[in-house]
């Protein structure tokens, strides 16, 4: 029995293709990329420059701006996704009850849409000229002037956040809905009998019990928003100027537009480190809370 379950040849046949692909496409390039950050050059050849890329990174104002923007974007969008998603989930569970399937599906739908299509759609939605888009039209109708949304950093940021939330809230709502449905009905019932009103019920029982889901949603959200690329590339292209340029876009431009492969690899490393730090930070604080309780 054991010899069959541990048959070396079968293991190799089943494991090797996946392992090979994964190693060649992900593991080796990651190490290679680490190495590249000590070099300068492009397809014609590389020269070893030691820590030059890193000292350049320390002084690079555009990089600092990109880091700042990435963190800011991540923080705002994650907060929005968790908060709005949770509100939607509560709405599904406590207001719509069992008839929420249709609304759930509808709010979820934008999640499956490609971000390029969504970005192009909303670019027109917020447009000023030559056609006044629906958003500005509504502004005009209630007596406000049109806003050139993509003309200034702040308004561009607002549009980016709105689009990100529009296309992802349904997903987070669903995630947290799944968590809320797991809360035993008896617990809520007994609290109700003890005289808890709606808000108390949510604060004392629902919220503490949904903490694990909130935590995994937060980690997931940070993990995705820190790597944001498609939406911003298609919506603002990082503009105006470089005010809405995330790290991913800066890395992409450095590498493929300016052909500076070594420095591109360094920026990618910075992004990876930030992703790791944020995840560890959230995990760490969550663990601390649990030991306290």
């Amino acid at each position: 029995m054991k010899s069959v379950l541990g048959d070396k040849k079968t293991i190799l046949i089943l494991l090797l293709p996946a392992m090979l692909l994964y190693t060649l496409v992900k593991l080796v390039p990651v190490l290679w990329s680490l190495g590249l950050s000590f070099f300068q050059g492009d397809l014609r050849g590389f020269t070893f420059v030691g820590l030059a890329n890193f000292s350049k990174a320390l002084e690079d104002a555009e990089l600092h701006q990109a880091i700042l923007f990435t963190l800011q974007y991540s923080l705002v969008v994650t907060a929005g996704q968790i908060l709005l998603g949770y509100l939607f989930a509560l709405f599904y569970v406590f207001v719509l009850r069992r008839s929420s399937a249709f609304v759930r599906a509808l709010v979820f739908f934008p999640t499956v849409l490609p971000s390029v299509a969504v970005a192009l759609l909303f670019q027109r939605f917020f447009e000023v000229a030559p056609q006044t888009g629906p958003v500005n039209s509504i502004f005009n109708a209630i007596g406000l002037p049109s806003i050139d949304w993509f003309g200034a950093p702040n308004t561009s940021f607002v549009v980016l956040v709105v689009v990100a939330l529009w296309s992802s809230v349904g997903f987070f709502a669903l995630l947290m809905y799944a968590g809320l449905v797991d809360i035993p009905e008896e617990l809520l019932e007994s609290a109700r009998i003890d005289g808890a009103n709606g808000l108390q019920l949510i604060r004392r029982i629902v919220l503490p019990l949904s903490l694990p889901v909130l935590l995994s949603a937060t980690i997931f959200s940070f993990n995705v928003t820190l790597k944001v690329f498609d939406t911003i590339y298609a919506l603002t292209g990082g503009g105006p100027g470089t005010s809405t340029q995330p790290l991913t876009l800066y890395m992409f431009k450095t590498t493929f537009t300016f052909q500076d492969y070594g420095y591109g690899a360094t920026i990618a490393l910075v992004l990876t480190l930030i992703c790791l730090c944020v995840s560890l930070l959230i995990f760490g604080s969550a663990r601390k809370d649990r030991t306290k309780a």
Partner: protein, 302 residues
């Protein structure tokens, strides 16, 4: 007989909740229902309106875009914009490219990923936990990190001008999540099934094909959907590895669409975006339950 079975039925189906009393539309109930309905209407409007507006706009002429109100209905419902998007805009080519790239990547991800998951979870050998960990470590690392080395590698291999770089990259990148989810599904399958098959004389390869695959068929479908969406909707890989515009998949092609004409040619642009949305709308309507479960499941576990 009847007297025995009747009470038994009550025990067989223990209703978790008492039967609901008939709803009466009292004033307090109405008061609670109205905010709920307002909420639903607002949510639906925000969710549907942009897509509806996109649909309507895709039939407008350039003149209507510039001169008429943005809320106006198009004057005629002909498909000129769609024809132009598909032919002059080359969206048909992009669409075909997407299919050419997505199908083999997806097949490789599912077949190889499933095999690896089976080897790791069902079979017994030293170092399988380490192997799983190795696969999982890939989930955290951003795709940007591997772009430069892969670009150089594909260039040196001389396959830069083909579909291969995209297919290989998508297949490799899809592996961690697939292996991770599929091992989780195999974990819930009782070991005894495979032991029994072994006693009956089946080799492990035979067990894999005749028992393993059929048992996780539903899960495989879910994982396949999740991976399909991430490949079909990807921009980063597509943009990096297609220096030749003829190879561009749909997302990268769509992007070129708004700028390539110099001044934005609204009608075809909207038609192109809507076709893109419509493809996924159809998919979503057909498979809504599975997609929702799949994406949520993938996130909670991954």
């Amino acid at each position: 007989m009847a007297t025995i079975t009747a009470p038994q039925d009550v025990f067989i189906k223990p209703g978790r909740k008492p039967p609901q009393r008939a709803r009466r539309w009292t004033r307090s109930r109405l008061k609670r229902a109205i905010p709920a309905w307002i909420g639903i209407v607002v949510v639906l409007a925000i969710g549907i309106y942009p897509v509806f507006w996109l649909f309507v706009s895709s039939f407008k002429t350039q003149r209507e875009f510039v001169q008429e109100s943005t809320f106006a209905m198009p004057e005629s419902w002909n498909f000129d914009n769609y024809v132009e998007a598909l032919t002059t805009g080359d969206l048909a080519r992009n669409f075909l490219n997407s299919v050419i790239v997505t199908a083999p990547s997806l097949a490789a991800i599912l077949v190889f990923g499933l095999g690896a998951a089976f080897a790791i979870e069902v079979m017994v050998w030293k170092g399988r936990n380490l192997t799983l960990l190795l696969f999982l470590s890939g989930i955290m690392i951003p795709g940007q990190m591997i772009l430069v080395p892969l670009f150089i590698a594909y260039f040196n291999m001389g396959i830069s001008g083909t579909y291969l770089p995209m297919i290989l990259t998508y297949a490799g990148l899809g592996m961690p999540l697939t292996v991770f989810l599929m091992t989780a599904y195999f974990r819930s399958v009782p070991r005894e099934i495979f032991e029994a098959a072994t006693i009956d004389g089946a080799s492990m390869l035979r067990s894999f094909f005749s028992i393993g695959i059929p048992l996780v068929r539903n899960a495989l479908f879910t994982v396949g959907l999740v991976q399909f969406l991430s490949i079909w909707n990807d921009l980063l890989i597509a943009l990096t590895f297609t220096t030749n515009p003829d190879l561009r998949p749909i997302q990268a092609g769509l992007l070129n669409f708004s700028g390539e004409y110099g001044q934005v040619n609204y009608g075809p642009l909207f038609a192109g975006v809507f076709m893109n949305v419509f493809t996924l709308l159809i998919l979503f309507v057909l498979l809504n339950q599975r997609i929702m479960k799949g994406l949520a499941g993938g996130a909670v576990k991954g």
